[in-house]
């Protein structure tokens, strides 16, 4: 576990990535207060057809 020291190609450790995510989540949670009730995106038919 001490994985935590490993860095990605930009030199970030997992702990640094998590700190960045914490900062982003605070902003995201405010926006998500007005989430559409029918939230969806994608094209499942295309995926099933293998396109």
């Amino acid at each position: 576990d001490k994985r935590r020291k490993k860095r990605n190609r930009d030199g970030w450790t997992l702990d640094e990535i998590k700190r960045k995510a914490e900062h982003e989540l605070k902003k995201y949670q405010k926006i998500a207060e007005n989430e559409p009730s029918d939230l969806a995106s994608g094209d499942m038919d295309k995926i099933i057809k293998g396109e």
């Binding site: 997992l14 926006i31 029918d38 939230l39 969806a40």
Partner: protein
């Protein structure tokens, strides 16, 4: 299955689990203590079948077949099921682009609200995708094919820009 495919599945499965664990830790420490993340497993695929009974669901997607195809075809994929107090509230799957420079959010669906109240999901979905993108060194996240204008506008509030030609929104991973 080719050995290289099997090897990629094994290596990326480890990164997926790492990203989901990190995202769950971040989300729960923000106060959403009832929210749990998992890979899309048989329990999630079984739980989403209840969505077929919704009167308000806008897409009648077959997640069982769709996930089966996606899983076989894309070993580097990211996938997540979101659970709140033991109830499935969302599913998503995506994968890196061919050159690996971007991470696509290919499909996301929140549990229909006429089947019960739930928390928002997209804030948690984006955080998890952001962590996976950084772990695989993707520089951009692309949200593919928003289902309608309202959803597209919602994504734009997160800083994503719409590309009409490919029907997706993108944002750099900084």
């Amino acid at each position: 299955m080719l050995a290289t495919h099997f090897d990629a599945e094994r290596r990326y499965s480890k990164i997926r689990k790492e990203a989901l664990a990190a995202a769950a830790e971040v989300i729960q420490s923000s106060g959403k203590t009832d929210l749990r993340l998992s890979e899309i497993d048989s329990k999630a695929l079984s739980a989403c079948k209840i969505w077929d009974f919704s009167q308000s669901r806008i897409k009648d997607w077959d997640w069982v077949e769709g996930y089966s195809v996606f899983r076989f075809r894309y070993p580097k994929r990211f996938e997540m099921a979101l659970w709140e107090t033991g109830k499935l509230i969302g599913l998503s799957m995506g994968r890196p682009t061919y050159q690996g420079s971007a991470l696509r959010l290919d499909v996301v669906e929140a549990a229909p609200l006429d089947l019960g109240n739930r928390s928002s999901i997209f804030d948690s979905v984006l955080v998890a995708y952001g962590i996976y993108a950084r772990l695989i060194n993707a520089k951009e996240i692309r949200i593919m094919h928003p289902v309608n204008r309202e959803v597209r506008t919602y994504y734009e509030r997160f800083g994503y820009k719409y590309v009409g030609n490919g029907d997706y929104l993108y944002r750099e991973v900084l």
